[in-house]
């Protein structure tokens, strides 16, 4: 059986879809098809990939409109009677074909306050302490959450919002049992955590099944609320500071 692929070809100047016909084999994933096209029909078809095992998070694209890892999208999960559309992720500028410039993410990462262990801490802790940071550290930085998040995707607020990936990273550092600093001011003022309206698209697309919204963003929103939006706590702080 053959499947038709509509793949975006172009660069920062523009482009359009080009159609390819690919024979489908058992167990095939979308990235296999793209490689086949690259090998036989278009040597210069640009696609970013490394491991082809869902571990490096390089091959994100929008398959039939949904942000996904191409290496983990099986062909037998797609309706093949109509063409399969592959477009580069829409939140970041296209470099060429399916490859986008995701360097913004690396710049944002530099701003997150780093892991800061306390002085003289005994480096002993329990398995139960790492359940939370562990979930966040599963992140493979595929940036699909950044891609689907409407604050970045539709409203393009890249200057005021760090996006789900880095809210997760900040949460992982903040909840590390040995970390000694608070990131609430960073999240409120630089991170733009208030811009997140917890509509959970990030969680829906996460290939690592990290519960981004429930386990990272909402707990951090609560920590921010503790420090900045809780009138009773504010009053208590005032009193104890003066007393």
């Amino acid at each position: 059986m053959d499947a038709t692929f509509r793949i975006f070809r172009g660069n920062s100047q523009g482009g359009g879809y080009q159609e390819f016909l690919v024979p489908v084999e058992e167990g095939m994933v979308v990235l296999d098809a793209v490689h086949r096209i690259q090998e036989h029909q278009a040597n210069d078809l640009a696609v970013r990939w490394n491991c082809k095992a869902g571990k490096c998070g390089s091959c994100g694209a929008e398959v039939n409109g949904k942000p996904r890892l191409m290496c983990m999208t099986r062909m037998d999960q797609l309706p093949l009677e109509e063409p399969v559309t592959i477009h580069p992720v829409r939140t970041f500028p296209v470099i060429r074909d399916l490859v986008c410039d995701v360097s913004w993410n690396y710049e944002v990462n530099k701003r997150v306050p780093p892991f800061t262990p306390g002085e003289g801490d005994l480096w002993r802790w329990q398995q139960k302490d790492i359940e939370r940071p562990r979930e966040f550290r599963k992140c493979i930085e595929c940036f699909l959450c950044q891609t689907v998040c409407h604050v970045l995707r539709t409203h393009d607020q890249k200057s005021s919002f760090i996006g789900p990936r880095f809210l997760v990273r900040a949460a992982g550092l903040d909840m590390h049992p040995m970390d000694s600093i608070s990131r609430t001011r960073f999240l409120k003022e630089e991170g733009g955590i208030g811009l997140c309206n917890i509509t959970k698209c990030c969680t829906e697309v996460c290939p690592e099944d990290i519960h981004i919204t429930d386990d990272a963003i909402i707990p951090m929103k609560e920590r921010v609320a503790d420090d900045f939006y809780d009138p009773v706590r504010w009053l208590l702080r005032k009193i104890t500071r003066r007393g």
């Binding site: 660069n11 084999e25 058992e26 167990g27 095939m28 994933v29 296999d32 690259q38 090998e39 036989h40 040597n43 210069d44 078809l45 640009a46 696609v47 970013r48 990939w49 490394n50 491991c51 082809k52 095992a53 869902g54 571990k55 490096c56 998070g57 390089s58 983990m72 099986r74 470099i95 060429r96 074909d97 490859v99 410039d101 995701v102 360097s103 690396y106 990462n109 530099k110 780093p114 892991f115 262990p117 480096w123 002993r124 802790w125 329990q126 398995q127 302490d129 790492i130 940071p133 562990r134 550290r137 599963k138 493979i140 930085e141 550092l173 590390h176 040995m178 970390d179």
Partner: protein
């Protein structure tokens, strides 16, 4: 003339996996100006694929463990062909490197008393692998990446090095191109650290990522550095064999470390029949004893499923040859009958997912089908065991691209700590070297313009070859002729094929533009890959015995004549020279440790 972006550093690190990052961090902390070149995006290096753990004699689970025991296991695993001093330094420093990772924020699994937990692995006589579920490599790489970011190290992402530049006899930098624009970029440096990883992509069936094309071996060799042990390529016994798209994808040894057992198509646990002479008495003799080991009985010996990788890979091949292979030509790996569903899901979450999503197999209920896959290069650039200096002035190497630590076979878990220990050392001594240099590094104009011409050549070629066709044929050639089991006739055929492929590589034509053009990348990669492939084949031809990962059909046993020699592959004119050199002699007190 074409515009050329230019950067000057004290230390240029090529490769941003575990070793490269650790080297860059060390150099930066020594005050060097550091440039880090990454072929992919930062954090995507093949290190993320490492699953099982980091071997280090912390002694958290078994307090009897010591650096001496780790040293002994490493040497014996490598069939004593290791550089003893490297293994010595390594076993002593590994624990400190792991603790350091924890100080930098890595969250390892814990023992009940709150220390870093350690799991059992093939060839290690104690539970020695510090781990983070089955995604230890990701945790390690992310922790190092965070440190590098925190120290403000300059990273050049998606940048492919084409040539190392020399100023007289010493290395003075490198030239390459940025994938995004196709623009050329020049790095001038007082010292260069190569940390480019392995060469799995030379083979058709491999667990390795896109990047592992063996560039570093060729770059170093072309710059005049010695390569040693190039015949030793580890084929991991458990790669996926089905479906076709994922053939070769790794199934962690942790599956066996956590109780998984190998069976043939008749359901027999065949590994009991394959315990080599050297390890007799160290492994369980019966299934009953193996089951007691699994239940935590300290007196029971570990099951033979946990023998070293070379032994297990060959056993699976042998079962297949004798007609007991599974439907897709491998062996069954069964953990479902050994452990509860919850245990499997919590200890091996990504294996569970990998099989569920890619093969429709639920490993908590069914057996996996596995077979050997090209996994790791023991050999590589010859380095000084303490400073990681290569035989070329100013050039250092660390990690998989460097040779010596693992001898003829690497133990699981030794690679991650190798990256840390020798990454740090390479960064340190490269900085020391850089500090001794006077004046700015000099880049030779003739070498630069030649490199740029070479890089542009495939666009101007009048040939008809497609880059991916040559690549496919190279991978098939290596798989067929210089694979797991070799013989003289095959390897010679392989060498002939490589020579024909070189001609074809010269006729490759690339279409499209220079922006992110994978056809162009592949075209330029081919000469380096062919150089590395040739070095492997030449060394495989010379070692007329079977030892560790190197198996010669016509010489099935080990031969004492080869037990204390390395084969050095050295560039000579347009070709290679293969030289037999004695291993460094072990001092008496060290020798006692391995006997």
């Amino acid at each position: 003339m074409e515009e050329l972006q230019s950067y000057t550093y004290d230390v240029l690190v090529i490769g941003a996996g575990g070793a490269g990052l650790r080297a860059a961090i060390e150099a930066a902390s020594q005050g060097a100006r550091v440039g880090l070149v990454s072929k992919s995006l930062l954090g995507k290096a093949h290190t993320v694929m490492a699953e099982g753990g980091i071997a280090a004699a912390l002694g958290n689970v078994h307090s009897e463990d010591s650096w001496q025991a780790h040293f002994r296991d490493t040497m014996r695993g490598g069939k004593l062909l290791n550089n003893w001093r490297m293994a010595h330094v390594y076993a002593q420093e590994a624990p400190e490197r792991v603790m350091e990772l924890e100080r930098w924020g890595a969250v390892f699994d814990r023992t009940p008393d709150g220390k870093i937990s350690q799991r059992a692995f093939g060839g290690h006589s104690y539970n020695r692998l510090a781990h983070v579920g089955d995604r230890t490599g990701l945790e390690m790489l992310r922790t190092l990446q965070d440190q590098a970011v925190y120290r403000g190290i300059e990273v050049h992402m998606e940048c492919i090095i084409h040539t190392l530049l020399r100023d007289g006899a010493r290395v003075s930098g490198a030239i390459g191109r940025l994938r995004a624009t196709g623009g050329f970029v020049l790095f001038k440096a007082r010292a260069v650290v190569l940390a480019t990883g392995g060469l799995g992509r030379l083979y058709k069936i491999t667990s390795n990522s896109w990047e592992c094309t063996g560039d570093g071996f060729a770059l170093a060799s072309l710059a005049g550095a010695d390569l040693i042990d190039m015949e030793f390529i580890q084929f991991h016994p458990t790669g996926m064999v089905w479906p076709p798209g994922v053939i070769g994808l790794l199934v962690t040894e942790g599956v066996r470390g956590d109780g998984g057992v190998l069976k043939n198509s008749r359901g027999e646990r065949f590994m009991f029949r394959y315990v080599p002479e050297m390890f007799k008495g160290e492994y369980a003799d019966t299934e009953e004893e193996a089951q007691r080991w699994l239940k935590g009985d300290g007196a029971a010996r570990r099951p033979p499923d946990l023998l070293t990788r070379d032994v297990v890979a060959k056993a699976i091949m042998q079962e297949g040859r004798e007609g007991r292979a599974t439907p897709h030509g491998g062996a069954y790996l069964d953990i479902a009958s050994q452990r509860s569903s919850d245990f499997i899901k919590s200890r091996l979450p990504s294996m569970y997912r990998q099989f569920k999503e890619l093969a429709n197999v639920d490993i908590t209920r069914e057996s996996m089908e596995v077979g050997p896959t090209c996994h790791y290069m023991m050999g590589g650039i010859r380095v000084d065991p303490e400073t990681q200096a290569t035989t070329v002035d100013g050039l250092y190497a660390a990690g998989e691209v460097a040779a010596g630590l693992h001898g003829s076979n690497r133990l699981g878990g030794n690679s991650l700590s190798d990256l840390l220990v020798f990454g740090k050392r390479a960064g340190l001594y490269a900085t020391e070297h850089a500090n001794k240099q006077r004046g700015e590094p000099v880049a030779d104009e003739a070498q630069i313009s030649q490199a740029m011409q070479e890089m542009l050549a495939p666009f101007q070629s009048s040939g008809e070859e497609g880059p991916f066709d040559v690549l496919r044929d190279l991978r098939e050639t290596m798989q067929q002729y210089v694979g797991i089991i070799r013989n003289e006739g095959d390897v010679k055929k392989g060498l002939e094929a490589i020579s024909r492929l070189k001609d074809r590589a010269g006729r490759v034509r690339v279409t499209g533009t220079r922006e992110y053009n994978p056809g162009w990348d592949t075209a330029l990669q081919l000469p380096l890959m062919l150089t590395t492939a040739e070095a492997v084949a030449l060394a495989a031809l010379e070692r007329r015995e079977s030892r560790g990962a190197h198996t010669r059909e016509e010489y099935p046993g080990s031969d004492d004549a080869f037990s204390k020699v390395n084969f050095v592959v050295r560039r000579s004119g347009e070709g290679f020279l293969v030289v037999k050199e004695p291993l460094p002699e072990m001092p008496q007190d060290i020798k006692k440790l391995v006997e």
